[in-house]
């Protein structure tokens, strides 16, 4: 059994809409960040990886197994944790009860072992004191952490997380990053997020999706390097910049597609590089057209 995930020529269509096209990926243990605007196909890709959806074209292999074959699909699901973008919680459930329920579905039949595992994952996400609180009475960030906890059951070798830190406050995000970094030593963690600083802190590798296609797939550091010499500070927003915004120091950060001379350059961040990639993409890219 390989420890990786591979996609070949994967596409997914919903009626007339093409959500994913021509996706070729090989994923190894570590944290892989998935960036992209809304509608880029991140959630679809994650659902595909989580065996929640079959592809319309192409081949998927998770841990060497084919999700199209029912027996292999069950095998994959035994080794997979999935955090969807939105999780609904049944009424009246406490955090413990909910994670316990998912643990039952994950074949934890022995109550003592199951309860210990439930406590372990709730502790991992920092909720060990709120185990008996009703989920409906929790804050958004706490609910997100409950949902993350169920994905962590069994320390799966494949962890698919759709916006795991959405609604989570900055302090807790740091805790979660530590947890995910620890898991990623032996597991494949694919997480999608809007927060570039999560990606920067956690991921060595980043995949940028746009309109269902892979726009960038490589090292975070390499992507950041692409913005070198293209980011500078000024007292006013620079009209020649592609994008500029006010920073906390009161000065303006400017990012442009072409390197500029004679300005106060600063170290580019992942956010700068990502914005450059997004804004810099040509309007009429033939690759974006829907294949007939």
């Amino acid at each position: 059994m390989t420890a990786s995930i591979s996609l070949r020529g994967v596409g997914r269509t919903f009626g007339a809409t093409r959500a994913l096209a021509d996706v070729d990926l090989d994923l190894e243990p570590g944290v892989i960040g998935l960036l992209g605007p809304n509608g880029a196909g991140k959630t679809t890709l994650l659902r595909l990886l989580a065996t929640a959806l079959p592809p319309s074209q192409g081949q998927v292999r998770v841990l060497g197994r084919d999700p199209e074959a029912p027996a292999e699909r069950t095998d994959i699901r035994r080794r997979l944790g999935y955090l969807p973008q939105e999780v609904g919680f049944p009424r009246g459930f406490t955090a413990f009860a909910f994670v316990d329920y998912i643990a039952l579905l994950k074949e934890w039949t022995q109550p003592a072992a199951r309860h210990a595992e439930v406590r372990r994952v709730l502790d991992q996400v920092g909720l060990s004191n709120l185990v008996t609180k009703r989920i409906r009475a929790m804050s958004g960030g706490q609910r997100r952490r409950v949902a993350l906890a169920q994905a962590l059951l069994g320390s799966p070798p494949v962890l698919i997380l759709d916006e795991p830190t959405s609604g989570v406050d900055p302090e807790q995000r740091v805790t979660l990053r530590t947890v995910l970094a620890e898991i990623a030593r032996t597991s494949i963690v694919v997480l999608s997020t809007h927060q570039t600083d999560d990606v920067a802190a956690l991921c060595e590798r980043v995949i940028v999706l746009d309109q269902g296609r892979v726009r960038y797939d490589g090292q975070v550091t390499e992507l950041v390097r692409q913005a070198a010499g293209r980011v500078w500070l000024a007292d006013q927003p620079d009209p020649a910049a592609t994008v500029s915004w006010r920073t906390g120091t009161g000065r303006y950060r400017n990012v442009a597609a072409h390197a500029r001379d004679g300005v106060e350059h600063v170290e580019p961040s992942l956010e700068d590089a990502y914005l450059l990639l997004r804004r810099g993409s040509p309007e009429n890219d033939p690759a974006k057209e829907v294949a007939s």
Partner: protein, 272 residues
């Protein structure tokens, strides 16, 4: 915090129970208001296993209690973890069951009272009750945790079938009892239609949501009953062997479709 605390000798005698009543009482009174001395007493405790008692207490407080239905399922022979899985479905939360039971009871009463239309009303409503409760038990709106559930290894088919059987085990005897109250030759005329509708809802749930399917089936059946009722005076029309066999065939065919399409059971409806 007062300055005076128990000395080691006194404490030892207290814990070892070699002191007198008066001394012990004095120690006990002191302990009620001195957390420092309490902290010194606690490590010496060997009369019970504090860690074991904690584990039991924690379980009593954290682990969700099995519902009545869950305990019934265990008695019926289902292993504990499956009983829990089946019983957790929203349909068994009491509220829905009570609602459906109320409607049925009302229908039975109407029939029993001898009102001419009462019997029609009962025949209209009784076959729908089981399929409605089945639909409640695994519709996505009722069961909001659907997405993470979808990718767990537990076989979807088994879960749905178990829940359906559990529901029927509840619903059918209940309607049976109510049917005895209803006057007429064959209070069980509704039985095959009921099973037929459950099978149709199961099959349809591989295309649309179970609740929508149950609503559609209900609408169709109620319309049919109304049409037949306005044309003939006697509910005996439903009792004809032909009709009953037709329902049997419907049930078998629907169930066959359900099994054939079980792959679609847990897949998301494509959006947009």
């Amino acid at each position: 915090m007062t300055g005076w605390h128990l000395d080691d000798g006194t404490l030892r005698r207290y814990v070892g129970r070699t002191d007198s009543l008066a001394e012990g009482t004095s120690v006990e009174q002191h302990l009620l208001s001195c957390e420092q001395c309490r902290a010194r007493v606690n490590p010496a405790v060997d009369v019970i296993d504090l860690a074991a008692v904690w584990a039991r207490t924690r379980d009593a407080v954290e682990v969700p209690r099995p519902s009545v239905f869950e305990r019934l399922l265990r008695v019926a022979g289902l292993p504990a973890h499956e009983a829990r899985l089946v019983a957790v479905a929203s349909a068994f939360r009491g509220v829905w069951l009570v609602g459906v039971a109320a409607v049925l009871a009302f229908a039975a009463l109407a029939a029993a009272v001898g009102h001419a239309r009462g019997l029609w009303f009962f025949l209209a409503v009784a076959p729908l009750a089981p399929c409605l409760v089945v639909a409640f038990s695994y519709d996505r709106r009722m069961d909001p945790a659907l997405e993470p559930e979808m990718v767990t290894p537990y076989p979807a088919l088994r879960l749905i079938l178990l829940r359906t059987i559990a529901v029927l085990a509840l619903a059918l005897p209940a309607v049976l009892l109510l049917g005895l109250v209803v006057p007429g030759d064959a209070p069980f005329a509704w039985l095959l239609p009921a099973i037929g509708f459950v099978a149709v809802v199961l099959a349809a749930s591989t295309w649309v949501s179970p609740l929508n399917a149950a609503m559609a089936v209900s609408a169709a059946w109620l319309t049919t009953v109304w049409l037949v009722a306005t044309r003939s005076a006697s509910p005996a029309a439903v009792l004809q062997a032909r009709i009953q066999v037709a329902f049997l065939v419907l049930a078998a065919a629907s169930f066959g479709i359900f099994l054939a399409r079980r792959r679609h059971l847990r897949q998301l409806r494509p959006w947009r």
